[in-house]
């Protein structure tokens, strides 16, 4: 081996120990070119060195003890996760269930068929697959994948999101009636549905919009998946969850004894999408197989108050002023959007507190003494992470900014929803027969059994 003496050059290049010398080297063009030559050799050495390191670490890290008794070192086991292929089977089953449901709703018109199908779905998607992943939760995966470049959805997840909507666009909410395990478990406990006043229905019906908006906001900012976090039934499907989640599930089921499918109608964020897609569905369940004879037998058959009655002829008299109001409220919609956008954007820092980075940063700005004193686990972890407060605050600021933009969009969306809702109050559509409301009907098929008209 040869050892080269390179006093001059290396004196300059490697005197990083000493900052003044380093800067003087930079200003001298001559030494610069010499440096380059030197760099080359350095790089070559560095590569040789890298190769030697990697080839070394590819072998056993360090020879194990020499065991004289012939002891064999066990391998660390790594049980495989559920195979991806099985996930495609889930998608296939979902599709089959919805296809069968279409057949029961449109061809055989059998409530029984739908009932058994829905019980199968509950057993499979609920108790066997333990409720994950479901279409409701997939909203968040889609939202996250749109905003986080590092995250992308897998095909089964995308299918779980898109397929029920697509089916709804053609045939109405078959997914709700037959495939959704969360819906079915509530459907099975309906014993004495009471009628909820129209105003209450309408106002509670706003909640899914808010829930959807916030869930998307939180998912998109990488803060939380609140739909999954507060899924009331997943604990029951898994037979294991934190205590309060079980309480939540039981409370919903108890409410469900009297208010049919409370989660579906007043909470479920996916229902917002299904509801709107279903309004424009190509075909939809009809109560009667051919022509309504106005027997009124079906009027009380729907536990979800989703049957529209024929319109009162007298109301038509008012339709002129109605049209004026309608136009007025239509013009007000943009105003609502701006007002709500502004209002919610004011609340962005409150909303952002759900993000743990933001929350921690705010806490530490407010009480800087905590950084050194607190024995709180999270603060301690932050302290020993070596991150500075400035770095944390900077991260938090970025997230907060996302929340600012997001809450404007959320507000505008909510304004739109409320504007359209108010506007629709004055919309008048003539109806001659008893019909299932396309938006609210969950295609459970109960009403079909009440209609006396022969097939």
């Amino acid at each position: 081996m040869e050892m080269r003496k390179e006093k001059e050059i290396s004196n300059i290049q490697y005197s990083v120990l000493n900052d003044e010398e380093k800067s003087s080297a930079g200003s001298n063009p001559l030494t610069h070119s010499m440096l380059n030559v030197h760099y080359l050799s350095f790089i070559i050495f560095f590569f040789l060195f890298l190769i030697s390191i990697t080839s070394f670490s590819q072998q056993q890290r360090f020879p194990k003890p020499e065991f004289d008794t012939g002891y064999e070192q066990p391998n660390t086991t790594t049980p495989e996760p559920r195979a991806l292929a099985l996930e495609f089977i889930d998608v296939f089953i979902l599709m089959s269930v919805m296809a069968l449901a279409a057949w029961f709703v449109f061809k055989s018109r059998s409530r029984r068929g739908i009932l058994f199908l829905s019980i199968f779905s509950l057993a499979y998607f609920g108790f066997y697959r333990e409720g994950c992943i479901c279409s409701i939760g997939s909203i968040q995966n889609i939202a996250l994948s749109f905003f986080d470049p590092a995250y992308s959805v897998s095909l089964p997840t995308l299918a779980f999101f898109i397929l029920p909507l697509l089916v709804t666009l053609f045939f109405g909410r078959l997914f709700c009636g037959s495939a959704c395990p969360l819906g079915v478990i509530q459907d099975l406990v309906i014993i004495k549905p009471i009628e909820i006043p129209r105003w209450l229905q309408k106002s509670l019906g706003l909640f899914p919009y808010i829930y959807l908006g916030i869930a998307v906001l939180y998912a998109a900012t990488g803060t939380d998946f609140i739909i999954c976090r507060f899924d009331p039934f997943v604990g029951i499907f898994r037979m294991s969850a934190e205590f309060h989640i079980i309480v939540l599930g039981i409370a919903f089921l108890l409410i469900g004894l009297f208010v049919a499918r409370p989660y579906c109608r007043f909470v479920c964020p996916y229902s917002v999408l299904l509801n709107w897609v279903s309004r424009f569905s190509w075909k939809h369940l009809s109560i009667t197989p051919s022509k309504c004879i106005q027997c009124k037998l079906c009027t009380n058959s729907c536990p979800f108050d989703a049957i529209d009655f024929p319109t009162d002829e007298k109301l038509k008299l008012n339709s002129k002023s109605n049209q004026r109001d309608f136009a007025l409220y239509a013009l007000l919609v943009p105003v609502w959007m701006i007002v709500f956008g502004f209002a919610v954007s004011r609340a962005h820092s409150f909303l952002a507190q759900a993000n743990s980075t933001v929350y921690l940063a705010e806490l530490l700005i407010e009480q800087p003494e905590l950084i050194s004193e607190s024995d709180n686990l999270d603060i301690e972890t932050f302290r020993s992470s070596g991150k500075t407060l400035d770095q944390l605050v900077e991260e938090a600021r970025v997230i907060q900014h996302e929340f600012y933009t997001g809450s404007w969009i959320l507000g505008i969306f909510l304004g739109l929803v409320i504007g359209v809702l108010l506007m629709n109050q004055f919309r008048f559509r003539k109806r001659k027969d008893y019909e299932a409301n396309k938006a609210d009907c969950l295609s459970c098929g109960r009403c079909m059994d009440y209609c006396p008209v022969p097939k």
Binding site: P81, L84, G137, S154
Partner: protein, 191 residues
């Protein structure tokens, strides 16, 4: 007459709305398909980020937790004085319960030959509390570490532990390589 006209107009509007919803759905699908994840993510613990806070034991949706301690045997020193097994104040180096660090006595100590001992985790007992991980990291080679066991894990859409992990140690990894066993990969990600 006007009645039917109205009808056709409404039908037309409906057709339009239907088509636009169709396009919107196709748009979402297309957008997602562009950078589709061919595999799938599952949750795993990055042992180099984990700070042994103990939350893995209590915050998994499963009871007991799907997180277990695993032993990277290749890194283990097979020591008699094992910092992950013995309480620091233990009087003797034996399997007596009062000497053991693990709250559920999930670590089995087996004599191999002088002076080597093998340590194996009984996963049925382990609750993923990370106490031994802390001990092994502080006093030993760091061969004990936590991993999410995929035969147990329900693969929640969002791991409930990830939500509370103070060190963001729970990350999404590709289903192709669902484990981060120490020694098989290094801190900087290269093998």
């Amino acid at each position: 007459m006007s009645e039917t006209k109205k009808h056709t107009r409404r039908d037309f509007v409906r057709m339009g709305a239907r088509a636009s919803i169709g396009f919107a759905l196709a748009g979402v699908a297309g957008f997602s398909l562009v950078d589709l994840n061919k595999e799938k993510y599952v949750w795993q613990i990055d042992p180099f980020k984990c700070t042994q806070c103990g939350r893995c034991a209590d915050h998994c949706v499963l009871k007991p937790s799907a997180v277990k301690c695993v032993h990277a045997f290749a890194l283990c020193g097979y020591c008699d004085l094992c910092g992950g097994y013995l309480k620091p104040e233990a009087k003797e180096r034996t399997t007596a319960a009062e000497n053991q660090l693990c709250p559920t006595a999930a670590i089995q100590r087996k004599y191999i030959e002088d002076p080597y001992f093998e340590y194996v985790i009984d996963e049925a007992l382990c609750i993923g509390c990370a106490k031994c991980v802390k001990g092994c990291g502080s006093f030993g080679n760091g061969s004990l570490h936590l991993q999410i066991r995929h035969d147990l894990c329900d693969d929640c859409n969002e791991c409930a532990i990830a939500r509370v992990c103070p060190s963001d140690a729970i990350v999404r990894v590709s289903i192709d390589e669902p484990y981060m066993i120490k020694g098989n990969f290094s801190k900087d990600g290269n093998a």
